[in-house]
């Protein structure tokens, strides 16, 4: 209780972070995704990449996304489900997609009309696999 220092359960070196960033860039941003964020379950941003025209408040977004993910997970348990399958929100111009990388991390992608949900899910699945192999 005396300490205000929060220690994360994982360690990521410089090299691993660079590999993750290149996955976000090559698999997602180059496929037309506006912004891709790898966050931990406490809402910290681990890695991010965007197309250069995104000015969203990504720190608030990450905090809300992790809280929301946990809330949805808790609801699933209350109705007797292990977890709910897909977390995806559709807007007029921007959509948000959430994907669980592993017990520690979430991948958030923000994308527009240029990318179909089908393609996005394919690209996200590939990215998740590559990110997992970084460990």
């Amino acid at each position: 209780m005396g300490s205000n220092y929060e220690v994360t359960d994982y360690t990521l070196g410089q090299e691993q972070l660079e590999r993750i960033e290149s996955v976000l860039s090559d698999d997602l941003i180059k496929s037309g995704v506006h912004s891709a964020l790898l966050i931990d379950m406490a809402g910290n941003i681990i890695a991010k990449c965007d197309n250069g025209n995104c000015q969203h408040d990504l720190y608030s977004l990450a905090a809300l996304a992790s809280a929301n993910f946990a809330a949805v997970d808790t609801m699933a348990k209350i109705v007797g489900e292990e977890e709910f399958s897909l977390l995806f929100h559709k807007g007029e111009n921007e959509n948000i997609h959430f994907s669980k990388v592993n017990i520690e991390f979430l991948l958030i992608t923000i994308f527009g009309k240029e990318v179909s949900l089908g393609l996005l899910r394919l690209k996200v699945a590939e990215a998740v696999e590559k990110i997992n192999s970084v460990w």
Partner: protein, 201 residues
């Protein structure tokens, strides 16, 4: 915004525990949960990080019995205390009927208490509410640490820092040992119900 169900004669009111990170908000609710286990039908819901820090909120619905013919259900919530969670903290405040501000008595937490109280005022203002009007109780937590040789702020200092303008009821307490946890809760429930009573008539 309490909800009064005229048909089932039930009142639901929302009490939020606010304060700086690691100040003891969750521990307050955990103590209440353990103390009143037989009266609380559901499990306490805690949305927290792997590091055991509150991520969204804790939730504990508490049946306090009949008041003026209504079954009163107090919904106790905590907010995440860490500064970075302001957006989520604000969401929990929506519709709040009463608040407990849990201050950390440790000397080095003095500034954090003041900032957190100011943050509460700002976040209430977003819902067009005034900290001077919503029922509020202060708790000066961690008084038990004095015995362990930890230097604590004197109660007068805490009063001066946090309560000189608000002038609301305050309790020195210890969420870990349970000291004044229940009196704090009873006080905020009573203030909240008083403010609702005009409507229940």
């Amino acid at each position: 915004m309490a909800f009064v169900n005229m048909k089932s004669k039930e009142v639901q009111a929302k009490v939020v525990y606010y304060g700086p990170g690691r100040g003891g908000k969750t521990t307050n609710l955990e103590y209440i949960y353990s103390k009143f286990r037989e009266r609380i039908k559901s499990d306490m819901v805690s949305i927290k990080t792997h590091g055991d820090r509150t991520l969204f909120f804790d939730f504990l619905p508490f049946d306090i019995g009949k008041i003026m013919g209504y079954d009163v259900k107090i919904q106790l919530y905590t907010v995440p205390g860490q500064v970075k969670y302001d957006a989520t903290r604000r969401l929990v405040l929506k519709g709040v009927d009463g608040m407990v501000f849990v201050a950390d008595s440790q000397v080095e937490q003095r500034k954090k208490n003041v900032l957190s109280l100011k943050n509460l005022q700002e976040n209430l203002a977003m819902y067009k509410k005034s900290i001077f009007k919503v029922p509020l109780v202060l708790q000066y937590n961690k008084r038990d640490l004095e015995k362990e040789g930890v230097s604590l702020l004197p109660l007068e200092t805490l009063e001066k820092d946090l309560n000189s303008q608000l002038k609301v009821p305050s309790f020195p307490g210890s969420a870990v040992t349970g000291e004044n946890v229940v009196p704090t809760m009873k006080k905020i429930i009573s203030l909240t119900m008083t403010s609702l009573q005009n409507v229940l008539k």
